[in-house]
Amino acid sequence: MHIVVCVKQVPDTKIIKINPKTNTLDRRSAPAILNPYDAHAVQEAVKIKENTGGTISVLSMGPPQATAVIKKSIEIGADRGFLITDRAFAGADTLATSYALSKALERINKEIPVDMVICGKHAIDGDTGQVGPGIARRMDIPPVTNVIEVSEVNQKEKTVLIKRKLTSGYELIQSEMPCLLTVEKEINGIEYSPMPNMIKAARYEPIIWAVSDLENVDRTQLGLKGSPTIVGKMFTPPRPEGGKRLEGSADEQVGQLMEVLMEKRDLLTMQSSK
């Protein structure tokens, strides 16, 4: 069983700062972390491997310092890791990213055939969730997104049983392998890595590939050139009439508040889940 987990280094959006004047990301202050969903993806691979044996490879695209997230994945229990890094990848949107990653996967697959690719549901810096299904299409394997449980990995029949989260509830899917899964956080809890993993990760040197290390690459599909979308403008969301104090007696104030809330009735619904 060979599982490849795609991981991304992201700025921790919980502590991210935006320069209010330029509306750009203040990257100085935001520590770079392994995308939390991807950590669960690696953990799931480790769980699967406990039953099936085999190899877990992680794959990432990013600047040279993104080796940190590969090391982090080794801590969780991955066996080895690849980073594709090249100026040619810079400025990639989801389409160009899935292209570059699928080219690296092609090479990995040539060396050891891949049975399963696992990605996080989405990266917290982009929130798109589009790269995973994109890779699946390019590799021509079935994608199953929003996965909350993986069971019955049948290596002989090359099938796997998957629980997929829906807007309300879930569905049970049987998929052929190889397949690509994108996982939700609730699929597992991140285990506290044992000390030997930590030391192994601290010593580990990821395998680094540039575009020239990949085969049959159409350079027009990489990076900025290969990205159909561009950012037109950035702006701060307008804050509606901020800081207004309501006046009058308690009853009057409650009355005014109810009026305001009714104006916003499309915001307030009986369903509280996004």
Binding site: L95, D127, I141, I173, G232, L268, M270, S272, S273
Partner: protein, 343 residues
């Protein structure tokens, strides 16, 4: 690619058990505006099994055309089969814009289709507009954890695609007298060629909302006084279907578990409505909630910093205000037969 070959605004009509998802109706409303600006027809496309009867509803919510592909293999959503259907339609009719609801299935489908069409896709859009002169879709979405908005454009590829967050756009009032065209397309799909099978679908609507994902949060602070009074926070939340949060003080006092703490050492939340009740607004709390869309603060102290970030502030005793609010909501609910709908 000749961009002028592509005309029309399309909306993916997502249905489950022959019921159209709310977001698809919302997108018909949003798509209608775009189509009118561009002076092109608005189309919905509907894939599934026995779904043709839904086409009239799609028209009543604003579509001029409904494309329908009906096939047994399309009974349940699957990326591979649905994608084939969308590819067939998009390549034949060449729309310039396709919108999908940002639901698990909508996002999944749009991502796969974008890859095969080699076109741009903007995820989780919350604002839509068009640059009429250049016929460009302006899809805006929160970026970097919701702190700022980015407008994404797709200049050289068609169709321009976006997934749109549910409950952001407004559906039109249905008009059953509206007229439209229904076009059926045939597709060749074989179950034995499908690499995934849906074995079972389980509906579960009771699952409690996670704080970070909640649309509406009622958050209480130490100003509630004691554990007994804090129950008012729960009562208000229950009445309006909100999630409950608390400040660090509240969690430390043991009135709430840590998972429900909002602030620097707790959750960072960005709900649409945030009630801050009995909360002074210390920095470590404010950093965790200041990006909420609409903030209502109730506090005794007129100088409490929470009022600086609040959209609306009430200076008053929570013990007096909150019960009145609960009463008002309850009244509304009983008038409307159990649902709070303000229409």
């Amino acid at each position: 690619m000749n961009l002028d070959d592509y005309r029309g605004v399309w909306v993916f009509i997502e249905q489950n058990d022959s019921k159209i998802e709310g977001v698809s109706l919302e997108l018909l409303g949003a798509g209608r505006k775009l189509a009118d600006k561009l002076q092109v027809p608005l189309a919905g496309f509907l894939l599934g099994h026995d779904v043709k009867p839904l086409a009239n509803q799609v028209i009543s919510f604003g579509a001029d055309v409904v494309y329908v592909i009906d096939h047994l293999v399309l009974k349940h959503y699957r990326t591979e089969s649905f994608m084939k259907g969308v590819m067939l339609l998009a390549q034949k009719y060449k729309p310039e814009i396709i919108l999908y609801g940002a639901t698990p299935n909508g996002k999944d489908l749009a991502s796969a289709v974008a890859t095969d069409l080699s076109t741009g896709l903007t995820a989780d859009t919350t604002m839509l507009d068009v640059d009429v002169e250049n016929r460009l879709l302006e899809a805006s979405r929160p970026a970097f954890g919701g702190n700022i908005m980015a407008t994404i454009l797709c200049k050289k590829h068609r169709p321009q695609m976006a997934t749109v967050r549910p409950k952001v756009m407004k559906a039109l009032d249905p008009d059953s007298s509206r007229l439209g065209k229904i076009i059926e397309e045939k597709i060749d799909l074989k179950e034995e060629e499908m690499r995934t099978k849906v074995l079972q679908i389980v509906n579960d609507v009771t699952k409690k909302a996670n704080l970070a994902d909640a649309h509406v949060i009622v958050c209480g602070g130490k100003g509630m006084g004691d554990f007994q009074n804090f129950q008012l926070i729960h009562e208000l939340a229950e009445t309006i279907g909100a999630s409950v949060g608390g400040t660090r003080d509240v969690v430390e006092a043991g009135w709430l578990p840590h998972e429900q703490q909002v602030g620097q050492t707790g959750e960072t939340v960005t709900p649409k409505i945030y009630f801050a009740i009995g909360i002074s607004g210390a920095i470590q709390h404010v950093v965790g909630m200041k990006n909420s869309e609409f903030i209502i603060a109730i506090n005794k102290d007129p100088n409490a910093p929470i009022f600086d970030v609040a959209t609306y502030g009430i200076v008053g005793d929570a013990m007096e205000i909150v019960p009145k609010l609960i009463e008002q909501f309850k009244q509304l609910r009983s008038e409307k037969g159990g649902e709070i709908s303000y229409a």
